[in-house]
């Protein structure tokens, strides 16, 4: 079927489902839905490098796309259901490599997240499904998460892949929460290393203006216990500090992240973070990190030391939101600058633009594939 027709048909089916479900007696108060439609364009300023010789990765210079992102949740009291199907349509222009001068269409339909949950009472919850499971206070990367360190902060319009989890949570009181988690499948995370089931036991404690979590985890490939955690403190109404860490497990060497934020009187805030991973790659050329060092292409940062500064103004001029982020790789001295612009128009519509600029040599981490990228478009929410 033609991709456009497939998208339109899916849209009609989904809209009819939502509307009929919402209209059905008894479901009106139980069904929550939010449907976001994105029309977007991207530009990628590719570089010729050993990471992508002759555009071996077949990356398009331009893309125009349409995304449909419905979030549906049904509350049946003791049982909760949620599903987040995704439809994507892309028209791609190639200017480099074997496909140079060509255009093609690509479409995909998948369920990024879904979940069924049983609420057993007394603060006990059981769930199974595909989720983008994230925790911790850090912005750059989440070293305490044994399942996926990426946290999607690079581009808020790009969704992190869902993995399959079985989950049991007991919220003992307002201070203590205990969770047992089994990662049963890699889901949509395309990791290079072979997947093995992972297990974690997580203890969360919330104190007066501080919080902390301890995670014990292991997986079937490497049964050694990994210990990780995170903590945050509210030093004042404007100053927050946080940390995340991990010791042992598959990566063996420890990693930690330290950070803090300051909120100005107008509401804008500045975040600073330092990240060190002793198992990070020290090879001079980033390509060797993947060939010799065993780095995973799915990992967002592969070297040892980074600093990050981020400034966000959630309400700069009425409905304009701005974020600037600078990441410095301290080992190869490469930099990545990211700017995120969002402009609200009316009650349902938002214009957005995300621009990234990598400043480094072709053998550095930032700059080895592209020197810049832009994504811009419009989002409409129903």
């Amino acid at each position: 079927m033609n991709p456009c027709r497939r998208i339109i048909l899916a849209w009609i089916v989904l809209s009819a489902t939502v509307v009929s479900a919402a209209a059905a007696e008894g479901f009106r108060d139980r069904l929550e839905y939010r449907v976001e439609t994105l029309a977007l364009g991207t530009y990628l300023d590719l570089r010729e490098s050993s990471m992508n010789p002759g555009n071996l990765l077949a990356l398009p210079r331009y893309q125009a796309g349409l995304d449909l992102r419905p979030d549906l949740a049904l509350d049946l009291g003791r049982i909760g259901l949620s599903v987040r199907p995704r439809l994507e349509l892309r028209n791609r222009w190639y200017e480099e490599g074997a496909r140079a001068g060509t255009r093609d269409w690509a479409d995909s339909a998948y369920v990024n997240e879904w979940r069924i949950e049983a609420r057993l009472g007394r603060g006990l919850y059981l769930s199974y499904g595909r989720e983008n499971l994230q925790w911790g206070p850090s912005y750059l990367i989440s070293p305490s998460n044994p399942f996926n360190r990426g946290n999607g902060e690079m581009n808020p319009r790009t969704e992190e892949p869902g993995l399959d989890y079985a989950w049991a949570t007991w919220i003992a009181d307002r201070r203590w929460t205990f969770s047992a988690i089994a990662n049963t499948d890699e889901g949509r995370l395309q990791a290079r290393r072979e997947f093995s089931r992972g297990y974690a036991f997580k203890t969360d404690c919330t104190g007066e203006r501080w919080y902390a979590s301890l995670i014990l985890s292991t997986d079937e490939e490497d049964e050694r216990l990994a210990k990780s955690g995170f903590a945050g403190w509210n030093l004042s109404d404007a100053v927050l500090v946080h940390g995340e860490w991990r010791i042992g497990g598959v990566r063996r060497e420890p990693a930690y992240l330290l950070g803090g934020s300051y909120t100005f009187g107008g509401g804008s805030f500045l975040v600073a973070e330092f990240f060190h991973d002793r198992s990070g790659c020290l090879e001079e050329r980033i390509w060797d990190c993947y060939i010799k060092g065993g780095a995973d292409m799915a990992d967002i940062l592969v070297r040892r030391n980074y600093v990050m500064l981020q400034w966000t103004d959630p309400e700069l001029i009425d409905s304009v939101h701005l974020t600037f982020r600078w990441i410095r790789g301290l080992d190869d001295h490469s930099d990545r600058m990211i700017g995120i612009y969002e402009h609200e128009i009316g009650e349902r519509t938002m214009l957005f633009a995300t621009g990234g600029r990598d400043m480094g040599a072709t053998w550095d981490e930032f700059g080895s594939i592209a020197s810049g990228a832009v994504m811009a478009g419009v989002s409409v929410v129903f």
Binding site: R34, E36, D71, R115, E117, R119, G123, Y125, S127, E131, Q134, W135, G136, P137, Y139, S142, N151, G152, E153, P156, R157, E159, E160, T169, I171, A172, D173, R174, R175, T177, S179, D204, T206, G207, E208, R209, W210, Y211, G232, N234, L235, S236, D237, A238, L240, S261, T263, G265, G266, G267, F269, P314, E315, D318, E344, E347, R348, M350, V381, F382
Partner: protein, 250 residues
């Protein structure tokens, strides 16, 4: 004097002493700033649990914005879910033990935010929470005043720690209703940030006054005003799963 008379006399004296000491205690409580502030705090929150819709209307530099949220609160903890306009639907704000997190669709995980961050217009995120002036501030009675024809005690509140949202507050508490009806908020440097007026048309579970509206006005540009209206509060227990960071994005 007979023994019976002696016992009667002792009982009488004991009863009289109890009455006098009770009356003195009541009088002291009535004049005790902490006791008064605690009663005023109770009219702006509920230790057991309360849920309500809140409509926030903000007029900033000639531009009007509106936001409707659903708040579930227990003591000083709350979960605020944004309902309307549609572009904000699904955004959530959680405060537990003074820690605040923000979550929205598309955001992979909740982010920790400070209480200073604004919700809309002049309203800070922390303004949704019940006040705890009795514990967070040292109170001094600064005098008496009349607000909208209502006699009030004027308190000068000074933050005990840096953790308090505001460094200093001038707080007008109605003498008759024991509720805060007006407040002025100051920075550390003594600069007036904003003023607030409170209304109590709602009723608590015990039938006492409960907050129904807060009007917050910018001290520099008095035309910039934000009105928070509390709609149909329900006083029910809030399950622990509602006020849980683990379940904020789930």
């Amino acid at each position: 004097m007979s023994g019976a008379c002696m016992r009667l006399s002792l009982r009488t004296w004991a009863a009289a002493a109890a009455i006098v000491s009770g009356a003195l205690a009541c009088a002291a409580a009535a004049d005790d700033p902490v006791a008064i502030l605690r009663r005023a705090d109770h009219a702006r929150g509920n230790p057991g649990g309360v849920s309500f819709h809140m409509r926030i209307v903000s007029l900033e530099n000639g531009r009007t914005s509106q936001l409707t949220v659903f708040v579930q609160a227990r003591a000083y903890d709350f979960l605020c879910e944004e309902l309307d306009p549609p572009k904000y639907k699904g955004q959530k704000l959680l405060m537990v033990s003074g820690n605040m997190w923000f979550s929205k669709p598309g955001l992979s995980k909740p982010i920790a935010i400070s209480q200073r961050q604004r919700l809309m217009g002049q309203a800070a995120h922390g303004d949704i929470a019940a006040t705890n002036y009795a514990d967070e501030y040292d109170a001094v009675v600064a005098g008496e005043d009349v607000v909208d024809g209502e006699p009030c005690t004027l308190f000068d509140l000074k933050a005990r720690t840096k953790k308090a949202t505001y460094d200093r507050i001038r707080y007008w508490v109605s003498k008759e209703r024991i509720v805060g009806v007006k407040a002025e908020y100051f920075t550390v440097s003594g600069k007036l940030i904003k003023t607030a007026r409170m209304e109590y048309a709602n009723r608590s579970r015990s039938g006492g006054p409960f907050i129904s509206a807060i009007e917050i006005r910018d001290s520099l540009i008095s035309e910039n005003v934000t009105i928070m209206t509390y709609i149909e509060p329900r006083f029910d227990d809030i399950p622990p799963g509602i006020l849980s960071l683990d379940r904020l994005s789930r």
